[in-house]
């Protein structure tokens, strides 16, 4: 187990280097000047000042080395667009918001999705099952921008009088309701389907039958054995879900004017804010890499069989 952890940890370093290089080279391919923000042309002398100030007058490999050094010392450099901010400031300001949004969305997904899946599995092929399955399918099929728009349309306007939910921002607890639901909709459907599937499967397993045969009460069997084993895939699913939540946050943060990192990303790319785009991309990659690591470790703890296989 320890060697496995160490191996995985060591592997993250070259992977990060590759991701940084890849992103860096991609960014260098983008045409357009971060300092020309409007149709107004800048005199050459002013461009020269700006390039000098931000080190863009250096050759690309010097920039790359300097940048990589920065990443590993947790200094992502200054923003080219927000002239009084560093990328670190931007991450510090916006990242917690995205994190919170993702967390609430996840919470919503778990709170609704897992019970939905459990009911579905226990009452397989009943009316409840179909209802839950339909809800799950809808979560999959309906794009998040429509979910968000419909939530705004109904809860923010039609029924505003009694919901009292604001349709933008991220300051009051009320303002967090609609975006969290909108973002959590897809993971909810995901959990519901996943739990249903794995539970049905686990219920067929020998040890469950044995436990039942031994006279253990149904509730206890389900609580202790079935649910626990059914949740393993849920943990594994957390990694790709993380990706989905990040992706979703781009859309949701834009629709609800949430000061998160996804919303800022689009602005930064369009404004050619190289350092911010690089910083955020690397941050995303780092999150995913760490997320995968954690999931693998959790997986090992929850399911001892995989330990050897994975080392």
């Amino acid at each position: 187990m320890t060697t496995f952890v160490i191996k995985r940890l060591v592997w993250t370093i070259p992977v990060m280097l590759i991701v940084i290089l890849f992103t860096f080279l991609l960014m260098k391919q983008i045409k357009g000047n971060p300092f020309r923000k409007t149709e107004r042309a800048l005199p050459a002398s002013i461009l020269a000042n700006l390039n000098r100030k931000y080190g863009l007058d250096q050759p690309w490999y010097v920039q790359y080395v300097r940048y990589t050094k920065g990443v590993f010392t947790f200094d992502l450099g200054p923003s080219l667009l927000l002239r009084n901010q560093n990328v670190n400031d931007i991450v510090k300001d916006h990242f917690p918001v995205s994190l919170e949004l993702g967390f609430f969305a996840f919470l919503f997904a778990i709170a609704i999705g897992i019970p939905l899946g459990v009911i579905s599995a226990l009452k397989a092929n009943s009316g409840w099952d179909y209802l839950a399955q339909i809800a799950g399918s809808a979560g999959f099929a309906v794009p998040s921008f429509l979910v968000a728009t419909l939530l705004i349309y109904f809860f923010g306007f039609k029924w505003r009088a009694w919901t009292g939910l604001p349709v933008s921002g991220w300051d009051t607890p009320q303002s967090k309701v609609l975006p969290s639901i909108a973002l959590g909709f897809l993971p909810m459907a995901y959990f519901a389907r996943l739990v249903r599937g794995t539970m049905l499967e686990t219920l067929q397993q020998d040890y469950v039958r044995t436990a039942r045969a031994k006279g253990l009460r149904r509730r206890r069997v389900i609580g202790l054995h079935v649910l626990r084993n059914s949740l393993i895939p849920v943990v594994t699913a957390a990694a790709p879900l993380l990706g989905a939540i990040i992706t979703g946050s781009f859309i949701i943060e834009n629709i609800f004017a949430i000061p998160g990192i996804g919303r800022y990303y689009v602005t930064a790319v369009q404004g050619r804010d190289y350092s911010v785009v690089m910083g955020l991309t690397i941050l995303y990659a780092a999150i995913v890499i760490v997320g995968n690591l954690v999931v693998d470790l959790l997986y090992g703890i929850l399911d001892p069989r995989t330990r050897e296989a994975r080392t």
Binding site: T23, A141, L146, A237, P240, L242, N254, V288, L293
Partner: protein, 312 residues
């Protein structure tokens, strides 16, 4: 692609599918009975059958309607703007008075087209990476897989956005590149798993023992046997690519006007959703419809090609 589908990306299920598919398929290479069997099993699955029919119906709609439609999908006539659905305009008209029935069909061509082409590109790259890794094995395999493990689940959207900015102009093909650039990771994993399992099969060992060249082994014995899994994968991946295109369009990074995709139609609708809500609803429903169909088809295909995973 990172749109998630429980049957797609959970390693548990894909790994299982590949493993089982592998052993099953391995034994029956070259015979048609397996495919025939699979076909009958698929045909017996009512849900999948209905989904396939609906899927084809949608494809027929997007292919045929623009041909037979009496309306020019690009002609501007402001006097006809924002008409509600009627007999002559079954889905109403947009801001320019263009018939949405026709526009949605055209948008579908782009969306579905990008969906399929994108999926095939993903499979192509994934197969290449996966088969090299799996076939060569050893240190190279180890390195390639460690890399995949680490970046598995990397969100495609940031990279897609960067790629679109590199090209500047969004066309069908730049969109495909943007959507595939980091989305082949899962496919690579699946293919590699297949190859590894198949490699250990007796008949492959036998082929090797009689001195078959590596490309013959790969081309004749290994890759054809991954086909079943890849077919399932097409329909698992398709929704993700279509949705990815829609997201990018919705963020304003969509295909050039006056062309449209379902995503860019939805984006147009968002500006006016308080006054004319159906304009965003129609293309979104179309996307959802297609995703649902693809899901059911994928389920059916998997059951058909891999009988042991059928739910009892």
């Amino acid at each position: 692609m990172s749109i998630i589908n429980p049957d797609e990306v959970t390693e548990a299920s894909t790994a299982r599918a590949t493993e089982l598919g592998g052993t099953e398929a391995g034994a029956a290479i070259g015979t048609t009975s397996l495919w025939k069997d699979a076909f009958y099993r698929f045909a017996a699955n009512r849900g999948a059958l209905v989904a396939s029919f609906l899927f084809l119906l949608m494809v027929a709609y997007v292919v045929i309607v623009p041909w037979v439609s009496p309306y020019d999908p690009y002609a501007v006539d402001f006097s006809q703007a924002y008409l509600l659905p009627t007999w002559s305009h079954p889905l109403g008209t947009d801001q320019f008075g263009r018939d949405l029935m026709t526009r949605t069909a055209l948008g579908g061509r782009v969306s579905i087209g990008i969906g399929f082409v994108g999926t095939f590109v993903i499979l192509g790259i994934g197969t290449l990476y996966g088969s090299i890794s799996g076939f060569v094995g050893g240190r190279l395999d180890n390195a390639m897989m460690r890399f995949l493990d680490a970046v598995y689940g990397l969100p495609y959207l940031p990279f897609a956005i960067i790629v679109l900015q590199i090209f500047g102009v969004v066309t069908f093909w730049t969109m495909v590149i943007a959507l595939t650039i980091v989305s082949w990771l899962t496919a690579a994993r699946v293919v590699r798993g297949q190859i590894i399992t198949l490699k250990e099969n007796d008949y492959v060992r036998a082929a090797r023992a009689v001195g078959a060249r590596w490309y013959r082994i790969l081309g004749r014995h290994l890759l054809p046997n991954t086909l079943g899994v890849l077919i399932v994968f097409v329909f698992l991946e398709l929704p993700g690519v279509i949705l990815g295109e829609a997201f990018l369009s919705f963020l304003g990074l969509g295909i050039n006007p006056p062309k449209a995709s379902w995503g860019s139609l939805a984006e147009d609708g968002r500006d006016v959703f308080l006054g004319h809500p159906w304009i965003i609803v129609i293309p979104s429903i179309a996307i959802g419809y297609l995703i649902l169909c693809a899901n059911f088809i994928a389920d059916g295909l998997r059951d058909a090609l891999d009988p042991r995973t059928r739910e009892t």
